[in-house]
Amino acid sequence: MRYSFIQPRKKTVLTQEVKLLMAFFSMTIFMLLSTYLFLVYKDYRFIKNRENIVQKRYELDISISNSKKEIIYLNDEISLSQDIYKHNSVLKESITNLFDLIPSRITLSEALLLENGLVLYGITPNKDVYNFMLQAPLRSIFDKTYTSFYPADNGWIRFVSSNYIDVINMKEKKDEDDE
């Protein structure tokens, strides 16, 4: 005997409303989780990138310090080379000046250039020519001048002139040149 005009429906927990609600929350949770995973991934990438940057900075630090050392070294080389070139040029000037200093009436047989002095061997017609024409300019350059004379075969006079600069004066002159 039937008590209803319609067929009985099966009762289930998952009603239309529950399904709708579940779908809505599933989407929400999915979005939240994917945002979370995205953030986790990004944080991981950031940390990795930062590690790379720290490593690169360390390498750059080494490179910068090496470059600085290299610059100092090159500047040392350049400065030493300039000193050497200057020394050679000054030496050339000194030798030129020395030979210009010798008057035509005096003949040199030997010249010894020392760090702090000059020794000249030569022949002069007489002592006066030597004293006025060579010793006077030598005295103005050097602090100490010693000369010894002895007769030559042709009636002229041989001389040995030793001239020295005091070491302190020499250092002062060098400092002035450097300035």
């Binding site: 927990v13 009603t15 409303e17 529950v18 609600l21 579940m22 929350f25 929400t28 949770i29 939240l32 945002t35 979370y36 953030l39 990004k42 944080d43 950031f46 940390i47 990138n49 930062r50 940057i53 720290v54 690169k56 900075r57 390498e59 750059l60 630090d61 080494i62 490179s63 910068i64 090496n66 470059s67 600085k68 050392k69 290299e70 610059i71 070294y73 090159l74 500047n75 040392d76 080389e77 350049i78 030493l80 080379s81 050497i84 070139y85 020394h87 050679n88 040029s89 030496l91 050339k92 030798i95 030129t96 040199l108 047989s109 030997e110 010249a111 010894l112 250039l113 020392l114 760090e115």
Partner: protein
């Protein structure tokens, strides 16, 4: 008094509340702190990148200076690098002397990172002018040479005999300069 809300609706409400609570808790306890961390890390990374760029610029500037110095002073650097060769020297500077002979090399005390050798020479010149020309030429030499005292000129039957000492400067291989150079090249 009976309730107007049916049992399925109560379940639905409980489920909705439970899910809402989950969403809120997840958001406030996990997602938002993570977001803040993300923002913090992002700004830190930006700062680190800026610093790195500054470092790179500074490094580039230093490398540029090294390169410029190396290019501008190539001859000087090569002169310091070259090994002194007495035979080659004699051959090259023979034109300034009618005779040129180099005696033994003697190692002097090192100056800074450079090894210094002393070479004695005996030579014969026709006039002092050729010695001046030699002094000019020595500044363009393949080696770093400084002419030193004592210098002796002696008049002889044929020309002037001269003797002088030379200081030859060379890079000291013991110094860590070469390893520095390699490192710089690697960093480039």
């Amino acid at each position: 008094m009976s309730s107007s809300i049916s049992r399925p609706h109560i379940y639905l409400l409980i489920l909705a509340l439970f899910l809402l609570l989950f969403v809120l808790l997840f958001s406030f306890k996990i997602l938002i702190p993570k977001g803040k961390e993300y923002r913090m890390l992002s700004s830190e990374l930006k700062q680190e990148r800026r610093k790195l760029r500054q470092y790179q610029d500074f490094n580039d500037a230093k490398l540029e200076i090294v390169k410029e110095l190396q290019t501008e002073n190539r001859i000087i650097i090569e002169a310091f690098d070259n090994n002194f060769n007495p035979k080659k020297f004699e051959k090259k500077y023979k034109e300034y002397f009618s005779q040129l002979k180099l005696s033994s090399e003697k190692k002097l005390a090192d100056e800074k990172e450079f090894s210094v050798y002393e070479v004695n020479t005996t030579s014969q010149i026709n006039s002092p002018k050729s010695f001046y020309n030699f002094l000019d030429a020595i500044n363009k030499s393949d080696w770093m040479i400084s002419i030193n005292f004592p210098i002796n000129f002696k008049r002889e039957k044929e020309g002037i005999s001269s003797s002088f000492t030379m200081k030859v400067y060379k890079i000291d291989k013991k110094s860590d300069k070469n390893s520095t150079k390699k490192k710089v090249i690697l960093a480039e």
